[in-house]
Symmetry: C2
Subunit: 179 residues, 2 copies
DNA sequence: ACATAATTTCAATTTAAAATGAAAGTATTC
DNA sequence: GAATACTTTCATTTTAAATTGAAATTATGT
């Protein structure tokens, strides 16, 4: 049977609004709308959901629902739950906010920071070729600064995102709540 | 005359590669390719450039060159220089790497963090309507955590980006260079 | 006031990313 | 070992964002 209908799925106006907002937020963060929407939906749901439920709640195609659920699992924002005695997979969102934001930060680091850090190697590869007389002193100077900052941020992030090290959470939240 | 040809424009292979890389980086950061490319180009140039030069160096249309130069000025990454006795405007990139990254961070905060912070007000507006019995306890709990973290990050960023307060730079760079 | 040289605007086009949906692939049960 | 129930893939279409280019606008010098 395709729908056991065990869990009662809630879909209030508040939840719909939230999903809408989360989708928009996602777009601003460079996340595919459907992916953000699915994540938002799962955040509002007490119980795991099945692909077909996600599809109908958000009016998504099967392809999109599937692909984006995969991506969410890949990111660690959603857990796939294999139902015993059925091929069906059900999905739940990570509930811990710190864990959740860490997942997002990790992906963004990979997409945005790491390529910037690679410029360092690139710069050095040119340094050997054009040793001494540089083509653009201005660029080199600014770039050095940028790369220093980038690796500093990388260091901080590395520590912040180290799994099982959550003292940072306390530090961050306690020390700086008032703003 | 349209081209006084005073400054010698340099356009080496290294610079071209850099612009290419900077453009790609820009895309990963959610910045329009042309905008990032222009910024990259200006970073490599000792002297201010005129719109037509930018256009021909990057093979851009006038419309795009203009719009993106405006955006760069708006962000504070590029300064417009009005030539005396001519309508022509010349553009130079900000040279200070800290300043540069601050500009970018400020824009990203506006685009990505501020909308997240607004969820707090949204959440409160629902709290009054549905006082007590909530539609989704799971959501509320996770969301509280997310918002706490968001405002913590907001606090840190606020201090980091406060103009004329650069002790952070030292702190960030010195304390964490090794990684 | 006129002509020129620049900037600015914006409807139309292009481009890249995301979504679709139908077909192909795989477990699971009978 | 079929048949069923679900998942996965991918060529095509859609959508949103960026770019174009030509026309409109505004500043500057004669």
């Amino acid at each position: 049977m395709s729908n056991t209908g065990v869990n009662q799925v809630v879909w209030s106006a508040k939840q719909q609004e939230f999903v809408q907002k989360w989708r928009e937020l996602g777009v601003a963060w460079g996340i595919p709308p459907a992916m953000a929407a699915i994540h938002g939906l799962l955040m509002t749901q007490e119980h795991p959901m099945v692909t077909d439920e996600v599809m109908s709640f958000l009016s998504l195609s099967r392809g999109s629902a599937h692909t984006q659920l995969q991506a969410l699992v890949e990111w660690g924002l959603v857990y796939p739950i294999k139902t015993l005695g059925s091929r069906q997979v059900r999905y739940v969102a990570e509930r811990d906010s710190w864990q959740m934001m860490s997942c997002i930060a990790r992906q963004r680091k990979k997409r945005e920071l790491d390529p910037l850090l690679e410029l360092d190697a690139w710069k050095r590869s040119w340094a050997s070729k054009t040793d001494g007389l540089e083509a653009s002193a201005v660029l080199d100077k600014t770039l050095d600064g940028v790369l220093a900052q980038a690796s500093a941020v990388d260091g901080v992030l590395g520590r912040l995102l180290a799994e099982d090290e959550r003292w940072w959470e306390q530090w961050l939240l306690r020390g700086l709540r008032r703003n």
